[in-house]
């Protein structure tokens, strides 16, 4: 709950930043969305499919479209409607299939991730120094100052995530081995769920670890990226419940958000311009909340890092444990 409170507090003071991050996703996605729109327009042409697609979805048309689809057109599918969009990505995150999309989309995604890496310096600087100057200039300077080291950490993260996904492949292979003669789906589901949970946890551990390393850099405790990695790891190991717990609280909120969106978001509808705008706004609001949750995680981890440092300082001053790591 403390993590939540921290997130809400920090969020309140950084709404513009949050909206900026959301707008970034909008700006990056818009040109490709226009390309998709153009492709759809061309495919629908002057046909009456126009009416069926306005009212709902036309599976007959989609079969034709999918057969002729090239490049990013292949990502147009009925399951991206409504909550399916978020579920598709959540599943792809878990399985690593995010990187098996069309190369253009992955390329843009990687560029976006690099942009995020760049912006993260400013975001963490603001979170780590809540009482500091809150100008755009300082934000930009922080982005620039931390980017090279953050980039190094992103590279390291990439290697670690790759390792997690490779291990996931191995683990799922073992699950297949263990369940070869299991005849009940319930049992296989439970084992598979446990395996995927382990994969998710491993991804989260890497994320939390390297986020703590970044916070360490921003806080100025460790000037070098590798030292920060070591330091971030120490914080994670000493406060696993607090740090991972903070992430998991937000992950649970995210799961709730996605579930809610799955229930309320129109899948194939609506048919009117007003309805379309409303559906778009609902989707964007969901995305904004998702970003806010991500923001909350960063705030909570920054706070936890600060507390860990404070504890160590106190331990050092009282001669207790922790001396060696500070």
């Amino acid at each position: 709950m403390r993590a939540l409170a921290i997130g809400l507090r920090v969020l309140g003071g950084n709404m513009r930043l949050l909206v900026g991050l959301w707008l970034t996703s909008l700006v990056v996605a818009a040109p490709l969305a226009l390309a998709v729109r153009s492709s759809l327009e061309e495919s629908i042409g002057p046909s009456l499919v126009h009416e069926s697609l306005q009212k709902g979805f036309d599976m007959a048309w989609h079969g034709e479209y999918a057969q002729a689809a090239r490049g990013i057109e292949r990502s147009v599918r009925p399951s991206m409607a409504g909550g399916g969009a978020l579920l598709d990505n959540a599943e792809a995150w878990l399985t690593g299939n995010l990187f098996q999309q069309d190369p253009t989309l992955v390329g843009v995604g990687v560029l976006y991730a690099l942009l995020w890496t760049f912006l993260l310096g400013g975001v963490l600087d603001r979170l780590a120094h809540p009482d500091g100057e809150r100008s755009a200039g300082r934000f930009a300077r922080a982005c620039g100052a931390y980017f090279p080291r953050f980039l190094l950490l992103t590279g390291l993260a990439g290697a670690l995530y790759y390792g997690v996904y490779r291990s996931a492949g191995w683990l799922l292979g073992r699950v297949e081995e263990w369940t070869r003669d299991v005849t009940t789906e319930r049992t296989v589901l439970a084992i598979t769920l446990a395996a995927w949970a382990a994969v998710a946890l491993a991804l989260v551990v890497v994320y939390v670890w390297l986020t703590l390393a970044r916070v360490s850099l921003v806080k100025g405790d460790r000037p070098g990226a590798l030292a920060a990695v070591w330091h971030g790891g120490s914080v994670l190991l000493r406060r696993p419940q607090r740090t991972l717990g903070a992430y998991l609280v937000y992950a649970a909120l995210g799961a709730g958000l996605v579930s809610l969106y799955v229930v309320i978001a129109p899948a194939a509808g609506p048919a009117s311009i007003a309805g379309l705008l409303l559906a778009f706004a609902l989707g964007q609001a969901c995305l904004l909340v998702k970003l806010a949750l991500r923001f909350g995680v960063l705030a909570a981890l920054t706070e936890e890092y600060g507390r860990a440092c404070a504890d160590w300082t106190q331990a050092v001053s009282t001669g207790g444990p922790g001396r060696s790591s500070k």
């Binding site: 818009a30 327009e41 995604g109 690099l114 292979g173 789906e185 296989v188 598979t192 379309l276």
Partner: protein, 673 residues
């Protein structure tokens, strides 16, 4: 000859297990008495069988040809596995086969009256390493009308499931498990090696099979249980008997729950329903029973009654790969732990496999060469029965939380379903999508076993379903139903050929349909009609016109809209094109802005045709084949054309949904930053 005549006489005097007063529905010329024992721990079978065969052809033979289907999985040089590997590789890396997964069947002896008979493997497909056909040489010719009985002893290792047959844990599904005769036809023995793209073909007969399994195992099998005995060695022997069938399959597992039901409808014979279901699916038992009843009702009403009085259906173990297969008086369906009602599982597979009791079980066509005759007719019937008995199908994906080892690449399956309630999916659409990808791959008249393995099912199931649907829409259901019912009645318990079906169709329809069958069956032509152009212009001419013998400039029409008043008339023009090679008569519907509709009929022969008409208002749109009779049309989108394309709201709508997905994709990928 004398010896065999004696045998024939003896056989006639003591028909082994058919009740003498029972009216035979079929020739019953290939009958089996089998004793088999399952060693569940070793996963082996050991059996003895007596095969009684009567020559019902007009030529003699001195050979008996047997299928040894399980040798398809003896090693990776069999015809079946060579073809299956090719098919799998087309969709990604082939599934690994481990040492324990292989299966085989060995015939230890074949004897006639105690005298061993010579035998040899007889692959006739150029693959000398295939061991799925065994030829037994008889000491004398079997003349037409004569019978012979031979005794075989065999052993088999049960494979991990291939082609719906095998084991998973202590679940066993055992099909094509015994040495089974091919079909002796006018041209000789029809006993092809086991091919990956085909199923089975056998003569009708009487079966009496005693199956010994470990105590506590529940057993389901073709036929009715006629005896059960507990043995002193901790096993139980179940005996099942059935006449007028052409195969025998069985299953056993300690886990099955048994649920009984009954089908009773006025005008149709009652049927006992015997369901073996997995405990975790017990809550879905009624859905299975209801689907089986729906199949028996609709197929029975449309085509003819189900004559056996009982049917056993199996919900196989998870991951066993045994689901969705038909055997006489027994079939496997299959469901999942989470099976939303909006999806057709288990209803679709249950109706389809129950339907095979009619198309395959009763009408026993050669599935090696003409698989479309049962699979296609049955797929069409399944879709029709589902549409009749169940609400519209909804878009459904089962992808979330991927399953280990189930499906590869984009076909990877998941545990968790998601139903898109507002996306309706006409049931034929899935078939059309499959056919579209395979449209040119094979002429359906090619023997099925020669189809390209990776597209064989699309031609066999989907194309046939689509052309039957087209025929229904063209001739009317009443006519098509009569065609199918006549075909069913005429060829029940026989082995019809495609030409038999076409002859019945033309006879009942009262017209020459060869133009249609030539295209959909004897060729791989594709169909695509399109509205190429629509336009409306004022009737009043522009430019110079004759008036009082002089050329004068016509009054300029007042604008292009309808504001000029009720007197204004419009000349509309519609160009309809045939873009595919196939031809089919189609309607062309012209819809005007004031709601008026005009319908034209085009024989669809030329490459294009133009309709010109005058009306009080401008044309709004034109549609070729407005009732969608031609289900084989590969591009439905170009079948219609608006004169003035409306604002592009649909493209914006779906692009905005895509945009949200992609924004979320970006935010998700940023996790890794």
């Amino acid at each position: 000859m004398r010896l065999l005549a004696i045998v024939a006489t003896l056989l006639g005097a003591c028909v082994p297990f058919a009740a003498a007063d029972e009216l035979a529905l079929s020739p019953r010329n290939a009958s089996y008495r089998i004793d088999v024992r399952l060693d569940a721990a070793a996963r082996t079978l050991e059996g003895r069988e007596t095969v009684t065969w009567r020559n019902i052809q007009e030529t003699p033979t001195r050979e008996l040809w047997f299928h040894l289907y399980w040798n398809a999985w003896r090693n990776d040089r069999s015809t079946w596995l060579l073809e299956d590997r090719a098919r799998e590789r087309a969709g990604g890396p082939a599934k690994e086969i481990r040492d324990e997964d292989w299966g085989w069947i060995e015939v230890d002896s074949v004897a006639f009256s105690g005298v061993a008979l010579a035998r040899r493997y007889a692959p006739d497909d150029g693959n000398p390493e295939d061991r799925t056909v065994l030829v037994v040489e008889l000491p004398e010719e079997i003349a037409p009308g004569e019978s012979v009985a031979v005794d075989l002893a065999f052993r088999a290792k049960i494979p991990r499931t291939f082609a719906r047959t095998g084991f998973r844990g202590d679940f066993f599904f055992l099909a094509q498990w015994f040495p089974k005769l091919g079909v002796y036809e006018a041209g000789g023995w029809n006993c092809l090696p086991f091919h990956a793209a085909t199923e089975f073909y056998s003569d009708y007969g009487e079966y009496r099979v005693a199956m010994t399994v470990p105590e506590g195992f529940v057993l389901g099998a073709t036929g009715r249980e006629t005896a059960r005995s507990a043995n002193s060695d901790g096993t139980t022997t179940y005996t099942h008997e059935q006449a007028d069938v052409h195969d025998f399959a069985w299953t056993t597992s300690p886990d099955y729950l048994v649920r009984e039901g009954r089908f009773e409808e006025p005008g149709l014979p009652p049927v006992d329903l015997h369901l073996l279901i997995q405990p975790e699916h017990a809550g879905q038992a009624e859905r299975h029973l209801a689907a089986a009843r729906a199949a028996l009702l609709h197929y029975g009403t449309w085509y003819g009654p189900y004559p056996y009085g009982h049917v056993t259906f199996i919900d196989p173990a998870y991951g066993s790969g045994a689901g969705g297969m038909e055997y006489p008086t027994l079939f496997t369906c299959g469901t999942r732990l989470f099976a939303p009602q909006e999806n057709d599982q288990p209803e679709s597979v249950t109706i389809h496999e129950a339907g095979h009791q009619f198309w395959y079980g009763i009408v026993g066509n050669d599935e090696f060469e003409h698989a479309w005759l049962d699979e296609g007719l049955n797929t069409f019937s399944t879709v029709r029965a589902l549409d009749t008995a169940y609400p519209a199908s909804r878009r459904f994906v089962r992808r979330y939380l991927p399953e280990p080892g189930r499906g590869r690449g984009r076909g990877r399956a998941g545990f968790l379903p998601l139903v898109f309630q507002d996306i309706e999916v006409p049931r034929f659409i899935d078939r059309l999508d499959r056919y579209r990808d395979a449209a040119g791959s094979d002429d359906p008249s090619t023997p099925t076993f020669r189809y390209r393995p990776e597209t064989a099912a699309d031609i066999t199931y989907s194309k046939t379903m689509l052309w039957l649907g087209t025929l229904e829409r063209e001739l009317g259901w009443d006519v098509l139903q009569k065609i199918l019912a006549t075909f069913f009645e005429r060829y029940a318990f026989r082995h019809p050929e495609p030409e038999d079906f076409f002859a019945v169709a033309e006879e009942v329809a009262g017209q020459d349909l060869s133009w249609f069958f030539d295209q959909v069956y004897r060729s791989a032509v594709t169909f695509d009609y399109a509205v190429g152009r629509v336009a409306s212009i004022p009737v009043e001419p522009r430019g110079f016109v004759e008036q009082d013998g002089k050329l004068v400039l016509a009054d300029r029409p007042q604008g292009d809209d309808d504001s000029a008043g009720a007197e204004r008339r419009w000349r509309s023009e519609v160009v309809v094109e045939r873009r595919g090679d196939g031809t089919f008569p189609v309607d062309v519907l012209l819809v005007f802005e004031d709601g008026e509709e005009r319908r034209e009929r085009w024989d669809g022969q030329a490459r294009h045709t133009t309709y010109v008409c005058e009306a009080k208002s401008k044309l709004r749109h034109a549609i070729v084949d407005p009732q969608r009779k031609l289900l084989l049309d590969l591009d439905r989108t170009n079948d219609s054309r608006l004169r003035e394309p409306e604002p592009d709201l649909p493209a914006t709508k779906w692009a905005s949904k895509w945009m949200l997905w992609f924004q979320d994709f970006l935010v998700t990928i940023a996790f890794f930053a």
